[in-house]
Symmetry: C2
Subunit: 328 residues, 2 copies
C-alpha cells in the first residue's frame, strides 16, 4: 500500500518563523526534499505579504518548484485573491484553510464560517473558468476540526456538515486539520470514518500536530479508517510560537520511518531526507528542529516497504553511535 | 473502559541513571505517584547490588510502598534468587524479564533463552510453595520481542512460542516488551493479536519505548487488539544512555492524557501527576525529563473519561501560558 506524505515545512513551518529564509535557501531545501522522494510539497502561502513577509516570495518559489520533475507543487491561499495569485504563479494544487470554529475563522481569516464557505465556492468557480490544463486542484483543510484554542470544543456534526458543503462548492478534496494538537486517536478515527462515509473519494488527508506527543498515534488511528495522505514537516517545524516545548507538525522523518516500518510505501529515502535536514539546519541555524529518528536512525533489521533491507542507522546524519543495551 | 497504567519509573527509569536517588526521595516520589492515582508501581529491582547500586535499597522501598493503601507493589527480579528476595521483601507482583533474543539474553542475564525459561519455571514453583497469602504474582515481560540491538530481527513465531511455554511454566501473565524502541504499530498489532489468541487471559501488557517517537502510536495499535495494561515512566526516564536525544519509556503524563482524552479511564489525576513530577525533578535536578503534556497542559474542553470536564492547562505545573493561535 502507498501513502502520500505531503511535506508542509516550507509553508507551515517557515510561516511561523519570524526571520524569513532567503528564497535561494528555500528553493535548495525544496529541491532536497523532492530528491528524497517527497512527491508533494506545500511551498508557500499567498497571503498578504505585509502580514507574513516570510511568504512574500511565494510566486518565485512556486515557479522554481515547478521545474522539479514529478513534483506536485502545493500552495496555500486563504481567499479568492490568494487563489488567483497562486493559480497565476502556476501552483498545481491550492489548499484553502477553512475553520470549523467561528471564533477561529474570524481571528484567522477575518470571515465567518459561512463567508469562508462562500469564498471557497467563488474560488472553485474562478478555477473552473481557467483554460483546460491551467486549472489547479482545490483542496480544503478544515482547521480546528478537533477543537479550538479560542472556543474549545467544536461540534463534530458541524465539521462533517461543512465538509459536505465544501465538496458541493467544488472542492476536489476536503481533509481535516488539527493545527493546534488537540486531537486524540479516538476522535481522529471517529471523524475520518464519518468523512469517508459522507465524501467518498473526495475525503482528503490528515494534517496533524504533535503538540501533546500524540501526532503519530493519531496517524495510526487515521490509517485504521483508510486515510492515505498525511501532512508533515521536516524537523517538525511550524506550530505554536508561544509554547517552547511544543513542537508543531508531525515530523516527516519520524512519520516516514514509522510508515515504512509498518510496510507502507512512502517512496521516501531516509538518508536523502537527512541530507535535506542538513540544508534546513544550515539555513536556520538558530531554530529548534525536532524529531526522534534523526538522532537514533533506523533500527537493525529495518526494511523499506518497497525497497527492502536498509543498513542500521538509516536516516541518521552521523552514523556510528553505539547501539543501546538494556540492563535486566 | 478502564486501562491500567503501570508506572515503571522508580525501577526502569532510575536503574539507568548512574547517580542513585536517595531512598527517602524514592519513597516520596512513589507516594506522590500513588497519590496521583497510579494503582501499580514497579518500585525496584532485585539484582546484584554490585551491578546496579541504584537498586540496592529495593527491600526498604518495597516495604515502604506496601504501606500505601490500594497500591500493587511490583518489583523486577532477573532470576530465582531475585524472586526469593523480592517475595521476602513483600512485593505483591514480581516481573521477570526474559529475552526472545538469544544474544540479548546472554548479554543481559547471562542465560540462554532455554535457561531463562527453566529459571521462570523454578521461580514459579518456589512461589507456589509459599504459604497462601504470601504468594506474589509472577508476570513476564518478553524483552526484545520486537527486535534486538544486538541480533536485529527476532522471530515472531519464537516470541509466541516462548509466551506459551512461559504460561505453561506457571507465569500468571506474559506481556511483550520493546525496551529498545524497535517496534512499529503494524508489528505491535500483529504480535499482541497472536499473544491474545494463544494465551487468552494470561496475555499481559505492553512495555513500549519512545525511541523513534512511536511510543503512543504503538499504544494505539495495542489498544486496537485489546491490550489494557501499559507500562510508562514519569518524564519518560529510563531507556538508552547512549543516545542523548532518545527518550526511553513512554511518558506517563502523555499516555494518561491521551487515554483519558480517548475516553479510557486510567484513574489518574494529571494535576497530581504534575506534583509527582516536581518531586522527581527536585530529586534529580541534572537529569533530562521528557514529555509534551507537562509543557502545554490539557486542551480547552478536555474531559477525564470518568470524571468529566477539567480546566484548560490541566497537568501543567505552571498554568497561564497564552493559548496558541494559527495563522492562515
Amino acid at each position: 500500500m502507498t501513502i502520500l506524505v505531503s511535506e508542509v515545512g516550507p509553508r507551515d513551518g517557515l510561516q511561523s518563523i519570524k526571520r524569513p529564509m532567503p528564497t535561494e535557501a528555500k528553493i535548495r531545501w525544496i529541491q532536497a526534499l523532492a530528491a528524497a522522494g517527497l512527491r508533494e510539497i506545500e511551498v508557500g502561502s499567498f497571503v498578504n505579504p505585509k502580514l507574513l513577509p516570510q511568504m512574500a516570495d511565494a510566486p518565485e518559489v512556486v515557479a522554481a518548484a515547478r521545474q522539479i520533475p514529478g513534483l506536485t507543487v502545493l500552495a496555500l491561499a486563504p481567499n479568492l485573491k490568494g487563489v488567483q495569485r497562486a493559480a497565476e504563479a502556476g501552483a498545481h494544487k491550492i489548499t484553502m484553510p477553512v475553520s470549523a470554529s467561528e471564533a477561529h475563522s474570524k481571528a484567522n481569516i477575518n470571515m465567518t464560517c459561512e463567508q469562508a464557505l462562500a469564498e471557497v465556492g467563488r474560488a472553485c468557480r474562478f478555477r473552473d473558468g481557467l483554460p483546460a490544463g491551467q486549472r489547479p486542484e482545490v483542496e480544503i483543510g478544515i482547521s480546528t476540526a478537533f477543537g479550538c484554542t479560542i472556543q474549545g470544543l467544536v461540534s463534530e456534526d458541524w465539521v462533517i456538515e461543512m465538509a459536505v458543503r465544501l465538496a458541493r462548492e467544488g472542492a476536489d478534496s476536503v481533509g481535516l486539520s488539527d493545527g493546534v494538537g488537540y486531537g486524540n486517536p479516538a476522535q481522529v478515527k471517529r471523524l475520518f470514518r464519518r468523512l469517508h462515509a459522507e465524501l467518498g473519494d473526495k475525503a482528503g488527508g490528515a494534517h496533524l500536530h504533535n503538540t501533546r506527543g500524540q501526532g503519530l498515534a493519531n496517524v495510526v488511528a487515521a490509517l485504521e479508517v483508510g486515510v492515505t495522505t498525511f501532512d508533515a514537516s521536516q524537523g517538525g517545524i511550524g506550530g505554536c510560537p508561544y509554547s517552547p516545548g511544543a513542537t508543531g507538525n508531525i515530523v516527516t522523518e519520524d512519520l516516514v520511518w514509522m510508515l515504512e516500518a509498518m510496510g507502507l510505501d512512502t517512496g521516501v529515502d531516509l538518508d536523502k531526507l537527512a541530507d535535506a535536514r542538513t540544508v534546513l539546519e544550515e539555513a536556520l541555524p538558530a531554530e529548534p528542529i525536532y524529531g526522534y529518528l534523526p538522532d537514533v536512525g533506523a533500527e537493525k533489521g529495518f526494511r523499506y516497504a518497497a525497497r527492502g533491507p536498509a543498513p542500521e542507522g538509516t536516516g541518521k546524519a552521523e552514523r556510528g553511535t553505539p547501539a543501546c543495551e538494556v540492563v535486566a
